[in-house]
């Protein structure tokens, strides 16, 4: 029998000062590339905190993976948040652990403490990874939903500001007519995505076009009542527009059969002129374009609406990312050590390490104490391969984190440091922002109004196996079946297929889904308002 060459399994690794290294297993619910074996930041964490992170990243479909994990009853110490795991009793309540052992986390989540409690039993199971700000809220980089268009199109048209869907499609039409191929491959005017759980690029635009914020599958009216919009006229209008684009040959013919990887590959080829998506979702397809210096083929997001009487509500105030981040599983041998570790990482020292990097290596500090990067350091940050060796991105994205500004006034993360953001802009980007008279990518959007108490509705837990969950599955299936059919039909057939779709939708128990959402929104208003 040949033994597999696993080093260090039997001999306990130790830190330089002789402490035993604690092994923490973590499952991260996003498909990152695994970091390099001797990654600088993870190594530093191991040396200083005595913790070795053994991370497993998602491959394939998250719900399937979690379903199998639950069926097998085997969990890593730290596990990506999902409401399914609460129903399955796979994670432990954290409130007492935080109270006793985690002053940094306690302070960080203090004002959201009530929101983090599960609506069914009042326990806190998750440490949300985004949306809790200290100091000033800065968003230079816009990570949310928008209609994205290539920068070279804007330059070509003299930097116009498309406000409506019609303005936007006209820009795309004109540019595609002038440039039938890009880098030798056929130009794709507009693409979309509906694969696995990533169906929002296809399903969410109608709510945005009508001036609603991102509530997922529902729009919420001024009385706080949520209703499904997928089969309503506000949706029909958008899909009819896609139907027109399709019949003009501007819509990607394979938009509905592509999977996420193919979609990213297409975007990184630089020949997709526009799409609707959330920036974080296609960022991985944009990175290679930046690395190759094809800045003209990266994107600017616009908050389109149906007509100019509607105010856009794409940009929203930060809201705690409930039901996301990490939880601690029931299999964890030493929850106290885990929470202490996460708490140490929440200190400013480690947050600086995770967001900016190491002083003198990844960033410099000037006489006023402001952090900045040299041109070489910026170049390194653009290189995805370099980041796998020198940044702890996979873990940092999933872990709770400080956002906003540090106590010394520096922004958390280089992208949010105003002068650093501006200096780091590529010449093409400076030219573009100057032409619009803007400072950041968020300036293209209307300022975010105050969030309603219950916002956002998409975070509502439908409860495993409930009628609402089954209905939601059937709704998505029905949309994915009929919408592509309608969009890819001849212009005169569109209405018939749309009517078929509406009829099919009527057969689903949509009410149970709406009821669950509304009941939860009510509960939030009652329990979260009095703060």
């Amino acid at each position: 029998m040949a033994l597999a060459g696993c080093s260090g399994d039997n001999e306990k690794a130790t830190t330089p000062d002789g402490k035993e290294v604690l092994n923490i297993t973590a499952f991260i619910g996003t498909p990152n590339q695994a970091p390099a074996k001797d990654n600088r930041i993870y190594k530093k964490i191991q040396e200083e905190l005595g913790v070795n992170l053994e991370m497993e990243f998602l491959v394939g479909d998250l719900q399937q993976k979690l379903g199998v994990m639950i069926a097998g009853g085997d969990f890593p110490d730290l596990i990506t948040a999902d409401t399914k795991l609460v129903s399955a009793g796979a994670v432990i309540p954290l409130e007492d652990l935080i109270e006793e052992h985690a002053p940094n986390l306690k302070k960080h989540f203090a004002k959201d403490w009530n929101r983090m409690k599960d609506s069914s039993d009042g326990h806190i199971y998750w440490l949300p990874n985004y949306g809790v700000y200290t100091g000033e809220f800065i968003s230079n980089y816009y990570s949310g939903p928008a209609f994205w268009i290539q920068k070279s199109i804007l330059k070509d048209a003299g930097y116009p500001t498309p406000k409506t869907l019609d303005d936007f499609t006209k820009l795309v039409r004109d540019y595609a007519a002038k440039n039938p191929t890009i880098d030798g491959q056929p130009t794709i005017g507009f693409t979309t995505l509906a694969s696995d759980w990533r169906t929002f690029p296809l399903l969410n635009p109608p709510e945005h076009l009508t001036g609603h914020p991102n509530d997922g599958g529902v729009v919420v009216d001024e009385n706080g009542v949520a209703s499904v919009f997928a089969d309503k006229d506000i949706s029909k209008r958008y899909y009819k527009e896609l139907n027109n684009l399709y019949n003009e040959g501007l819509l990607d013919k394979e938009a509905f059969v592509q999977n996420y990887d193919q979609y990213l590959a297409k975007i990184s080829s630089g020949r997709v002129l526009s799409m609707f998506d959330q920036h974080w979702n296609f960022q991985a397809g944009e990175d290679p374009l930046v690395a190759q210096g094809k800045i003209g083929q990266t994107y600017v997001g616009f908050p389109l609406v149906y007509d100019t009487s509607i105010t856009d509500h794409y940009l929203d105030r930060p809201v705690i990312n409930l039901n996301n981040g990490f939880g601690i599983s029931k299999d964890a041998e030493d929850p106290v050590a885990l929470i202490k570790f996460l708490d140490k990482l929440m200190s400013e020292e480690y947050q600086k390490l995770l967001s900016w990097g190491e002083e003198g290596v990844d960033y410099q500090v000037n006489e006023e104490g402001r952090f900045y990067r040299t041109p070489e350091q910026r170049k390194e940050q653009d290189d995805p391969a370099w980041r796998l060796i020198n940044k702890a991105e996979g873990f940092y994205a999933a872990a709770p984190k400080l956002e906003g500004t540090f106590e010394d006034g520096n922004a958390i993360g280089a992208i949010n440091q105003p002068e650093e953001f501006y200096d780091n802009l590529k010449p093409e980007d400076k030219e573009l922002l100057d032409a619009y008279g803007f400072k950041t990518w968020s300036d293209f959007f209307s300022p975010a109004p105050e969030n309603p108490v219950y916002y956002p509705a998409w975070q509502v837990d439908l409860k495993e196996g409930s009628d609402a969950a089954v209905a939601n599955k059937q709704m998505t299936d029905t949309s994915l079946k009929f919408l592509p059919k309608a969009i890819m039909s001849k212009p005169n057939e569109f209405d018939n297929i749309w009517n078929e779709y509406v009829d099919a939708y009527k057969k689903i128990d949509v009410k149970s889904y709406e009821d669950r959402i509304n009941e939860q929104l009510k509960w939030r208003i009652e329990n979260w308002s009095a703060k």
Partner: protein
Amino acid sequence: MANTPGAIPEQTTRTVVTKTPLLKRLRGQRQLMFMSLPIVAYILVFSYYPIWGWVMAFQNYSPAKSFSQQEWVGLKHFKFLLTDDAFLNVLRNTIAMSVINMVLGFATAIIFAILLNEIKHKLYKRTIQTISYLPHFLSWIIVTGIVASSLSVDGGIVNVVLMKLNIIQEPIMWLSVPEYFWGIVGASHVWKEVGWNAIIYLAAITSIDPSLYEAAEIDGANRYKKMLYVTLPGIKSIVIILLIMNMGWILEAGFEVQYLLGNGVVVDWSQTIDIFVLKYGLQIGNYSLATAAGIFKTVVSITLIFAANTIAKRLGEDRLI
């Protein structure tokens, strides 16, 4: 098998087993019994013991509760399955794709084996055989990638060739036409497995007595007649046995191919039972429904195997059981 002494030799292929007392027979075969113990234990532990988990299908199973706390719901999940339009639809797809794969798989493998057998040039024959079974070792994720890019409207080889031959004017979107889906899956299966499936038939062909061919030749049979009247009957029994064995897999039309090649547009034709179970069972945490579907599959499979076996028996062919 030699006939046992005392039995009257008959003009049949069947052997006659004389009845001896059970205990005596057991004692006589104790080494055999002893040798089979580990296998029996293995099957008990890994195949029979897990059947206990079937009780989940009659509960609203929740992983957070202990066995005594589970809520019993009787046949609720089976009723849901057998009255749900979507499930009947996936049942149709599963059986259709399975039958297509089976018929195509058998026909192509048998034809391929017989044709390959006719080639007399040793090296040439071996090369073809090797090339033909190599795709079997590719995983489906790779094969579906190859299939998807060959069928792409964006410079996929299938569309390019058809357009160059002027058979079509516009590229066809193969993967967005529901009616093409079964055919694409069938063709992908053939491409991947034909060489592998042919191996067993080639082996069976080599065991045919050469004197039969000589006799046929003397009777004036040409090449095709020999294939038809010597080779085919010679491998008939192995074909029947494989068919019976495959009957049990009829509800296993596959999962990977349909999951990887399928999309919202063709879902009515691409979704198989396994995908349905994944979506409505595992993904939304409805383990009981997933188990009920599994039981349904098992019962149907066992029934089909026995049915096929009985038919083979009626036809006087070799049987599996």
